[in-house]
Amino acid sequence: MGFEPRILSFLCNWCCYAAADSAGVARFSYPPNNRVIRIMCTGRMDPRFVVEAFYVGSDGVFVGG
């Protein structure tokens, strides 16, 4: 089996999180590798969160504003 990356996404409630919802409503599909943490705004992002994500073994970190 090929390598399936584990990706952690931090999504802004008003933008990317909403876009992700609308992608669902429209029944688009995309790879199931990401896991989502909802934040109210990308302003909430602390560099610590990204470092922590890699520390616990994430292969990639996406921040969606």
């Binding site: 876009a19 995309y30 990401n34 560099p47 890699f54 520390y55 969606g64």
Partner: protein, 157 residues
């Protein structure tokens, strides 16, 4: 934030491509799908964390641990916060400007603090040669000399 994260990743040897920030508005479902699909593909090509970096699991954990300490350090955070304040004051949010300021004001701090944490940790495990320290942290001899000197001073005072 993003530039700082990239610099921290650079310092600890994690490929900066593993971190990605982009924007999609609430109406842009298809764009979100594209961003995520592309990013997943990029990470798939990079392979598991550590592999593309040539870092073992332990080494990776060790180095990221130092980065975690950095991110919780009050002095570093104050420097980081003050830089953000300065950028806002200037009103110039261009990537070039931010990159330049981070390079000038934060990168030396990031390197110094991370390397220092690592050296301390390594030394606490027992005596180490300077070469071994350089090997483990990726620091230049000059940087190491500086750190060790500072530590000596710290002990005396």
């Amino acid at each position: 934030m993003a530039e700082t994260v990239r610099r921290i990743l650079d310092t600890v040897g994690v490929k900066r491509d593993r971190f990605y920030i982009d924007w999609a508005s609430a109406a842009e479902g298809p764009r979100f799908v594209q961003l995520l699909t592309d990013f997943t593909e990029r990470i798939r090509n990079l392979g598991p964390l550590g592999e593309a970096e040539g870092l073992s699991r332990e080494r990776l954990q060790f180095r990221l641990e130092a980065a975690r300490k950095l991110c919780s350090n009050m002095q570093f955070r104050a420097q980081y916060g003050n830089l953000a304040r300065e950028i806002k004051k200037l009103g110039d949010y261009s990537p070039e400007n931010i990159a330049q300021l981070v390079e000038k004001k934060l990168v030396p701090q990031i390197r110094k603090r991370i390397l220092e944490t690592e050296v301390r940790e390594l030394l606490s495990r027992g005596p180490q040669s300077v070469d071994a320290l350089a090997e483990a942290t990726g620091a230049s001899p000059e940087e190491l000399a500086g750190i060790l000197e500072a530590m000596e001073k710290g002990k005396k005072s």
